[in-house]
């Protein structure tokens, strides 16, 4: 795991002038999808890389220890071993980046991963997930309990009402407190961009979250009506780049950013799609559903 983002003092001048042009970002999003494709070995390698970015997640009311256990095994073995062998990638230790569950299931996940003999981090959603509409006190307590149970990554949701009413100082303070409550665990801040109203707000919320010391900023909980979209991702990536420029870090958002310590994809059905693609790449055939183990 990489070091923590220590954050900075709140500097509202970083967000006061920013304007994001919505139609222009939509056009850019369309272009990105049409301008960069990868094929053949490149496609296979990129897909395997994507696997290592996935937070393999289950966030359902009916989660029990048995399906958590299954999920953890899938996280350890995301792609069928014979397919990896065919690609000469079986010794690369390809696993998903983390397993993500509700706080009440953290113990199950930690136990299952230990049994599987691997050190994939367990991420727990917290802080009133998914709506964030609970008292700050209980939200902080939720984080502390999840950390106690063994979660090493905490996915908090931000208080959208603070964004929509422009209370940036209050938002900064809240996330600062989340940061403190996390202790050594990584703080992953979910912006729930589908509920922020504008892309300009997405940029501002991203910047505040990073100033307050988030290690990751994530688009969405998966529970809003609109979740991760290309335009939103573009705006957040631009915000991350600006944050690093401002804090004196020379890194740019290029290939250097593509490692699991710095980049995550919170989509779980994606994994089975990737595995099917890899199957096709290796065998030249399209897989039946039963050809690939479920998670």
């Amino acid at each position: 795991m990489s070091a923590h983002n220590r954050g900075t003092e709140l500097d509202l001048s970083w967000i006061s002038k920013i304007q994001v042009n919505h139609p222009a970002v939509l056009r850019r999003a369309e272009q990105i999808q049409a301008r960069r494709t990868v094929k053949k070995e490149w496609q296979a390698a990129w897909l395997l890389k994507a696997v290592t970015f996935i937070d393999l997640t289950t966030l359902s009311g009916d989660d029990t220890s048995s399906n958590i256990q299954r999920l953890c095994y899938k996280a350890k073995y995301p792609i069928r071993e014979d397919l990896l062998k065919a690609l000469n990638m079986h010794d690369k230790g390809i696993t998903t980046a983390a397993v993500c569950v509700y706080p009440a299931r953290v113990c199950d996940a930690v136990k299952a991963l230990k049994a599987a003999g691997c050190n994939i981090p367990v991420a727990s959603v917290a802080a009133g997930f998914p709506a964030g509409q609970t008292h700050l006190k209980t939200r902080l307590e939720e984080i502390r309990l999840a950390v106690e149970d063994g979660a090493t990554e905490i996915d908090v949701v931000i208080n959208r009402s603070l964004v929509l009413t422009g209370q940036w100082e209050a938002l900064y303070d809240e996330i600062r407190q989340f940061r403190k409550a996390c202790g050594e665990a990584h703080l992953k801040t979910i912006l729930a961009t589908g509920e922020l109203g504008t892309l300009t707000n997405v940029y501002k919320a991203s910047m505040i979250a990073m100033m307050a010391g988030s290690d990751f900023i994530k688009t969405s909980t998966g529970k809003e009506t609109v979740n991760a979209t290309f335009p939103v991702a573009i705006v957040m990536l631009r915000a991350i780049r600006d944050f690093f420029w401002k804090t004196g870090n020379k890194e740019e958002l290029g290939d250097e950013w593509l490692k699991p310590e710095l980049f995550r994809i919170g989509a779980s059905t994606l994994l089975s799609d990737i595995e099917r693609q890899i199957y096709h790449h290796v065998t030249g055939r399209y897989a039946a559903y039963h050809d690939l183990p479920m998670s």
């Binding site: 304007q19 042009n21 919505h22 850019r28 000469n88 990638m89 631009r238 065998t283």
Partner: protein
């Protein structure tokens, strides 16, 4: 487990995360070339034309240099054959109802849809442009163009009543344009009933393929004929007797030369010159999105040329940093690779840009290049040039030598065009200065404005002197939006209603004939003013006619301090008018320029009110005007009718201008596109000799109504009526709106036609004068309307106040306003 197909490299790619090649198969393009035995001729009258004993030029893959085919070069007789085929086809094609043409165009769109892979791979293979841009952009737009113009054709009888197709159109395309440029022009031409002969540069197979697809549709084989040949064929095609209009796109200097050589010839000329675009980045912009706008404009194979980038000084550092960082992530490579931003455009384009960059560097400019670009020729990296002030010699091409005396039509030196893929960035301080810098070039193509403040964006959008303005976007196009330019970018239009009128003429007007006089000496035409002597005492009509040149709102003595006699119909001396000269024209144009911003800024309603006030003043002066007309030989009744009709014209144009411009709704864009009708600027009008009052007023009224200011030369036979009107204008109008200069007609015409700061010129007079005006207009490429000695029925509604005047009196601007939050 089935046999594995995985390559050995996945391991390394997993670590490096590099991009790999995504080649698009061009087998079908090669197969099509094979059907022609790798030898392309011309496509004329629905058949391949492969005459013997012709030179051929190899068609090469611009990246590998591999010979793909050889292309026969047309000669004069091939041109004649193609024009003849188009002329024969015109008879049938234009006689069919619009619905039939609409069906044919729709069928062509369907054929393109069915064979689009062939079209896009062939185009990308031969031009080296990124296949993504051809496939997702050009080919789709080509089909939309056909569908849009099919709809226009089907409603032609109602919507375009009073207009008829011109005839055979000669279309000339330069080497760096895509086949889409041809589609923009042939679609409206074919839709309204014209037929086309296109001369494409050697080794451009895509237009030939299109012609073949169109030709094989059946019943109208000769409507689209494509020849490939060298630039030396351009004047030959342009001067073919059957050609009614030449639509030329290419370099400004070639356009200028063609304008000169076509003076007095039969064909009309529409010019679309230059490829450079402009981007204004203000300090309220979404800078990252604006940087993407720069990529769209210069580094994505969308636009044909380079970009001038103006950045507000307060965001200069931030914008340059983002720009340079973005450039580093651009990819260039073989056009047929699906994952590149930019292809390559062959050795010639590479030489051009190398020369430009070397020049710029030697002038002290900073050059930044970046991106993932193959190092070998003809690839060239995205290039950002800064610190190149407009006054540096690099920004100007060499002035042509000063031989030819002060009356050369060639202005001294033009700013060099920014070539692909170069962006020249320079700073500005305020929005006002941005407009000054942006408008301070002879170009008037397209520009984009990046600002999140609505008021500022509109201020800049309206203030830019260009044909197209995009607000917070760059390079959007749609068949229903007119695209064109002004100033030296040429004033021809394609797309939208304006594109249709390019190929139409008012029904029933006599065919435009050649008025070429081979021995007209351009150097001496109207140069000297014959001296005028006193012709005896005035036998004073009362009240005495006003004396002087009406400039800047008052009567002034002429610079030459001499006068010319005016005689009435029976040969008696009617009075003396001032003898205007070059200096008086200079003063009049200056006065008109001073008045222009105020007048153009008035609402149409305010302008109409003043025109109506002038109409009322004319009616009050009716008896004087009628008696002056009587002395010119008119009957009293007719004279009074002429005065009344003149007043009506003023009122009619005042009312008509209220409804100009409209909003367009474009597929795939949220938000409106405004089609604005803007004044041209200072309009020079040389009035006909006949109808001394009515013609003067009929020309004055639309010009002023649309917000132009004018310099007018009244009827030479009887300028007194115009001067009478000036007396009223002096009291009704602000100073400088209309300036009237009397004197020797040819001399004044010469001064106006050669004036670089006159934005348009209308000439109603002799064939020789028309030829001179057309020739001289090449200087600043002002649009001209010359009567070529044909009289006009000014008292008829169609000719005296028809839609043709409304069309010529203003220029279109398309203002794109994408919306969303």
């Amino acid at each position: 487990m089935a046999a594995t197909r995985a390559g050995p490299r996945a391991r390394e790619i997993f670590t490096s995360l590099e991009y790999g090649p995504v080649p698009e198969s061009h087998a079908c393009a090669l197969a099509w070339l094979d059907t022609q035995d790798r030898c392309l001729g011309h496509y004329v009258n629905g058949k391949w034309l492969k005459p013997e004993h012709r030179n051929s030029v190899p068609c090469q893959d611009p990246i590998t240099g591999e010979n793909l085919a050889s292309c026969l070069q047309a000669q004069a007789e091939d041109v004649a054959a193609a024009v003849e085929a188009a002329r024969m086809a015109f008879k049938g094609w234009s006689a069919h109802p619009g619905v039939v043409r609409a069906q044919h165009l729709t069928r062509l769109a369907e054929v393109i849809q069915k064979h689009q892979r062939l079209l896009w791979t062939l185009e990308s293979l031969v031009t080296g442009r990124a296949v993504r841009e051809v496939r997702d952009g050009d080919v789709q737009l080509a089909q939309q163009l056909l569908h849009y113009h099919a709809i226009q054709a089907s409603t032609q009888e109602e919507a375009l009543a009073g207009w008829e197709p011109m005839g055979v159109i000669g279309l000339i395309l330069p080497p760096t344009f895509s086949f889409l440029e041809m589609m923009w022009r042939i679609c409206p031409a074919l839709a309204v009933g014209c037929t086309v002969v296109a001369l494409v540069p050697p080794a451009s197979p895509a237009p030939l393929l299109l012609a073949q697809l169109a030709g094989e549709l059946g019943p109208f084989p000769g409507i689209l004929n494509v020849l490939s040949g060298p630039a030396s064929l351009v004047p030959i095609l342009a001067s073919q007797p059957g050609i009614r209009k030449v639509a030329f796109c290419g370099a400004p200097e070639e356009g200028r030369a063609l304008r000169r050589s076509l003076a007095g010839e039969c064909a009309e000329l529409g010019l679309a010159l230059g490829t450079e675009s402009l981007l204004l980045l203000t300090d309220t912009a979404d800078v990252d999105s604006a940087v993407e706008g720069v990529v769209d404009a210069a580094w994505s194979d969308r636009g044909p040329g380079g970009l001038r980038l103006l950045i507000q000084e307060s965001v200069w550092d931030e914008a340059m940093r983002r720009l340079q960082e973005r450039m580093g992530r651009l990819r260039s490579g073989r056009g047929l690779d699906g994952a590149v931003d930019m292809g390559a455009r062959g050795a010639a384009a590479c030489d051009l840009v190398q020369r430009f960059v070397r020049e710029a560097q030697s002038q002290g400019a900073q050059v930044f290049q970046a991106g993932d670009v193959p190092s070998e020729r003809p690839f060239y990296p995205p290039t950002l040039v800064s610190n190149l002030p407009p006054a540096s010699p690099c920004a100007q091409v060499e002035a042509p030598s000063l031989v030819g005396g002060p009356w050369r039509a060639e202005p001294p030196g033009h700013p060099l065009q920014v070539p692909w893929p170069v962006v020249v960035a320079s700073p500005f301080r305020t929005a006002k200065e941005a407009l000054l810098v942006a408008n301070g070039t002879p170009r008037g193509g397209s520009a984009s404005v990046w600002s999140e403040r609505l008021g500022q964006a509109l201020e800049l959008g309206y203030g830019l002197q260009v044909g197209t303005v995009w607000i917070n976007a760059h390079g959007l196009r749609d068949p229903s939006v007119p695209t064109g330019g002004c100033k030296e970018s040429g004033c021809s239009w394609h797309g939208g209603p304006d594109g249709l009128y390019e190929y139409l003429r008012p029904s029933g007007t006599p065919a435009r004939l050649s008025c070429l006089s081979k021995n007209l000496n351009y150097d001496t035409f109207g140069l000297a003013v014959p001296s005028t002597l006193p012709a005896g005492p005035e036998i004073g009509p009362s009240p005495a006619p006003p004396y002087g040149l009406f400039v800047g709102g008052r009567f002034q003595a002429p610079g030459a301090r001499s006068s010319r006699p005016i005689r009435d119909s029976s040969g008696n001396l009617h009075g003396y008018v001032a003898e205007g000269g070059a200096k008086d024209i200079r003063g009049a144009v200056e006065a008109a320029h001073q008045a222009f911003p105020g007048w153009a800024g008035q609402s149409p309603g305010a302008r109409a009110a003043l025109l109506w006030a002038l109409a009322a003043a004319l009616e009050r002066r009716k008896s004087t005007l009628a008696s002056r007309l009587e002395r010119q030989g008119a009957e009293l009744k007719a004279a009074e009718a002429e005065v009344e009709l003149s007043a009506r014209r003023l009122r009619a144009w005042g009312a008509r201008v209220q409804a100009q411009g409209h909003t367009l709704q474009v597929a795939g864009l949220r938000g409106p596109v405004l089609r604005l009708r803007e004044p041209l600027g200072v309009l020079a009008v040389v009035c006909p000799d006949e109808w001394p009052l009515l013609a003067f007023v009929s020309l004055l009224a639309p010009a002023l109504a649309y917000g132009n200011t004018v310099v007018m030369v009244p009827s030479a036979a009887c300028p007194l009526l115009a001067l009478e009107v000036c007396q009223d204008m002096a009291t009704v109008f602000p100073a400088g709106l209309a300036n009237v200069v009397t004197g020797d007609r040819d001399h004044l015409t010469r001064c106006l036609a050669l004036h670089q700061d006159v934005q348009a010129m209308w000439y109603f007079g002799s064939a020789q004068g028309s030829q001179f005006v057309e020739w001289a207009s090449a200087g600043n490429l002002k649009p001209v309307w010359a009567s070529r000695g044909c009289p006009r029925a000014w008292d008829q509604e169609a000719e005296g106040a028809g839609p043709e005047l409304g069309l010529r009196v203003a220029r279109t601007k398309a203002l794109w306003l994408p919306m969303g939050d």
